[in-house]
Assembly symmetry: C2
Homo-oligomer: 326 residues x 2
């Protein structure tokens, strides 16, 4: 496999990262996939990625227990391994703790350990510091993938699928931000997301994956990454999107669907597969719900198609942790 | 090589990290060296470590230019690869930027890229977020070492050596904290340290290394890691320690030596070698000054030995970024 970089979809959060690509260094032959995908790939099939969680940007003290902060930070990072169909091996966790005892370092670490352990990975190191500011966690994940699945690779005619259901985490945030308290299923989706590493490796084992991304910034935004990397258009059939039931009950169908498209932090997978490849027996092997949500066409970008066949472009780019909103 | 963990020396900063070791997970056979050394080692000889830099803990706005913050954060992380005698390949950089434009993200990144490039490594990814708090950088480094050098391995009779000169970075901090402005050599030692990755691989190539650590928390503290990991005593002959000339000129010999022993962020190497192994031809191959500073004996911990042969224990454990001081 040649060293390569991959085009990124739109979104203010990605502008900074995109600038890394403007200065492509000469990559060592030890680097098989450089910056721009969900993770880098190194000789030996090692896959590596890092994910940052910042208090009052990604979560708030009143929303989460200490261990949940560690759990979701690690799950978010592990989701990038899932997106590559890599099997998690280890994590490094770096944590800057505010003074004043607002967070318990041991319990935060314990959450990281739990999420890593669920995925079959161990904590291999990291760093710790005090800080005059908010709690900041950076989790680096290391996994192995004999055949890593990239964002590039979707071709016209492919079906677009997602795992699980979308929008529960965004609904929890919406309810918290409105002064309410989300019910257990919504709160759990935000506080203890589970990276789809097992489903991803099962899909890879069944040979159905042309391209894959994890759904961390809303389906519309992440589908945009598949479109940009593959040089194709992704048509999302909006009525097919599996919106989390508890989100629809809490917010109504329309707002819940908006959260699925433009919210974030679902940590499900979106993938392109050849027509008919995702058979019932593949779905049974994967073991979690799989829903066909659209198709790949020639063109560029993401289209939202309603039940009448009318198309529009997504109007928001998903969560933007680097910009002014959220 | 079997999966192993390594005992850590004393120091408040390390208590949290040490607790990781209290819950040793079952390590995958893909993990050759787990937590507790300067870096973890994975199948294929991949070496990985992370290092956190927090504004107003590790550096201050008035001390550094934007690119220097990135440069020194990356150099600090790369120094952990040097400590393992690994050749750097790539870095991931995660950055949480405060609002208000106090730091220029592009220039900070450029500094990371410069330090990585000097060490032969490329930026492979990372993450970026805004933050309501200080600038936080976490740099994860990835390198390869066919035969990684651990902290464990020093045996009684070994000589203890250090690369370069110590105490310049600590002197710069002391002068800044006293309201002064350090001269160029001291400022440069703090702002643009160079990880000793080339020297480390040269030492390894010459087969002289029993054990090694980087000097990031003061020689006394880091020598303590070699002692603890090896189950031996390290005797430092205080008069032999190569104190940076500019530090001695600025602060006087005694304070400069105190900075070398108990300061930090020199990013030199301290290693144990068999008697006579570091010959002039080895030193020439390494290409930077090497100074014999002591010896390994049976026992435990670090001894400071003065010119009369009188011994004392170090009274401070080096910089403590997790505790109350610094």
């Amino acid at each position: 496999m040649a060293a390569r970089t991959v085009a990124l979809g739109p979104g203010g959060e990605f502008d900074l990262i995109r600038r890394f690509l403007a200065h492509p260094e000469a990559l060592s032959p030890d680097v098989l996939v450089g910056p721009g995908d969900d993770a880098a790939v190194l000789q030996g099939g090692w896959v590596v990625s890092a994910d940052l969680s910042v208090e009052d940007v990604h979560f708030r003290r009143g929303w989460l227990e200490d261990d949940e902060v560690g759990f979701r930070a690690a799950a978010a990072a592990l989701s990038d391994l899932a997106a590559m169909a890599a099997t998690p091996v280890g994590v490094l966790v770096s944590m800057a703790f505010p003074r004043g005892g607002r967070w318990d370092p041991e319990r935060v670490q314990e959450g990281v350990r739990q999420a890593a352990g669920l995925a079959g990975a161990a904590v291999l190191g990291g760093d710790v510091s005090r800080s005059p500011g908010p709690l900041v966690l950076d989790v680096t994940v290391l996994g192995r993938a004999p055949s890593p699945v990239l964002r590039a690779g979707a071709v016209p005619g492919d079906e677009v699928w997602v795992t699980g259901a979308l929008g529960a985490s965004a609904a929890a945030v919406r309810i918290w931000e409105g002064g309410g308290e989300p019910g257990a299923p919504l709160r759990g989706a935000f506080a203890r997301p589970v990276a789809r590493t097992g489903a991803a490796t099962a899909l890879a084992r069944n040979g159905v994956l042309h391209a894959m991304v994890d759904v961390s910034d809303g389906l519309a935004g992440d589908a945009g990454h598949l479109a940009a990397a593959g040089g194709v258009a992704l048509v999302l059939e909006v009525a097919s999107i599996p919106v989390a039931h508890a989100a629809a009950v809490a917010l109504g169908e329309d707002q819940a669907r908006d959260g699925a498209l433009h919210g974030g932090e679902d940590y499900e997978l979106c993938f392109a597969a050849p027509p008919g490849a995702v058979t019932p027996s593949v779905a049974e092997d994967v073991g979690i719900p799989l829903t066909r949500v659209g198709r790949v066409e020639a063109g560029e970008g993401v289209w939202l198609e309603d039940a009448t066949g009318a198309r529009s472009r997504p109007t928001r780019g998903g969560y933007d942790h680097a910009g002014g909103g959220g």
